[in-house]
Amino acid sequence: MHKKVIGKTIQATIIHIIVALCFTGAIVLSIYLFYGAKIEETISLVSKVAIEKQKQQIQETIITEENGMENYPEYGTQYATIEIPRIGVNLPVYFGDTLEILKLGIGHSSTSYFPGEGGSIIYMGHNSKNVFRRFSELQLNDLITVKTTYGEYTYKIYDMQLIKETEVEKLPIQKQKEILMVYTCYPFNNIGYATQRYVVYAELQK
């Protein structure tokens, strides 16, 4: 009796579970047929928002550019030092321009090129005592040296301009000529909120 009953019970149970799985399959298939594209779209959108990878994406954007370098520094890491002998500056340069980075030293705008790539390089720093407080002492033909983890580059100042914080067109991104643009807030000894920027333009010497 037992064997027969148990055998039949197992058989019926398996059939019922298979039927239940068929229900699931049918529902999944229907959803996929009707909403498959939308679901895929949503998942890829959410995956894009799963952006610990945001840093990598910024790097990838630059890497895909023509003549890009092979190994870019990770966003937020120091990859160089900047030396401006005239004003006694010798500071670390970090890839990125968040307020957090600017606390540590000089920031490198992630939308600009790297030294040696032959394009616009944009650096920025606070006008505080330990950073660019003495920026006003800079003169034309002064030298700026950027020592990176992959080479040393020297730039000569050829222009200095006072711009409004909104005049981004005065910091153009191009790839015809290697130009280093370094800016800080103006006035240098201001008290309160600074709406102007003092930009130093320097071209590559060696």
Binding site: I17, K103, H126
Partner: protein, 284 residues
Amino acid sequence: MIKQIIRYIMAILLTISIIIFTFVSRISSTILSENYVLSKLEETNYYEKVYEDVKSNFENYIYQSGLDETVLEDVVSIEKVKQDTNFIIRNIYNGLLETIDSQPIKDKLKQNIAKATEGMNLNITQEQAIETLVETISGEYTTTILHFGFEKNINTGYQSLVKYVTLAKRIALVAMVVCIFIIVAVSTRRIYRIFVFISMSLVASGTFLVVVNQVITSKIDIQAISILNTAISVALRNIFSELLGSMFAYGCGFIVVGCITIIVANLIHNIRKYNQKNHTKEEA
């Protein structure tokens, strides 16, 4: 035959209703619940992280202002951050559009700056720059607390979402009751079928929840979700993980309960059938 078809159709509809009901119930008791979200914020040290962000943003403005960091002393506290964050959450969940009061921050900052610049002969331009700095810092505070510029859209969106979720929950519940009623009505002669069909629906819906969970976790790295800042990201990761985890747990529960009921129902049915057969044989 017709009864059998009706049973299968009802079982599929019951499966869909269970899935919708489970999903909607979990959503309304997690993401759409004000108390749940507030408890998660507390659990993930959200307020502390936001407070750190606020302090850090303030410092960045002070660095470029020519003022000393001491002007930030007692300008903002973790209690104020908590109070304002909860205020914003309540705004969202209650459809209100009240704004954060940043006046105390402005007042304290002005007071500190006045103390720090005491004795300096400030000109009009510098006074205006200080005014702008105070406005910018208090604005930065509001932005850091709000995180979004579209609070109004979230508020109205939330209200209509709650309406639809409640409606979907009710419809799913009514559909479940109707399906079970029809299955019972067409299976009065063989009661075991009632249990088997309802259990099949449970197993099917459980499997669906488990499969969906696996698909989502394999395609999206929940722990890598990073939105706006660390505080929000950690809270969201926690909420999503818990939501998916509970869906998975419900799915597994449904499968286990469904399988056990199918086995028991089939076993009882087969024992009865066997006894009946023996009884008929003995009578013969």
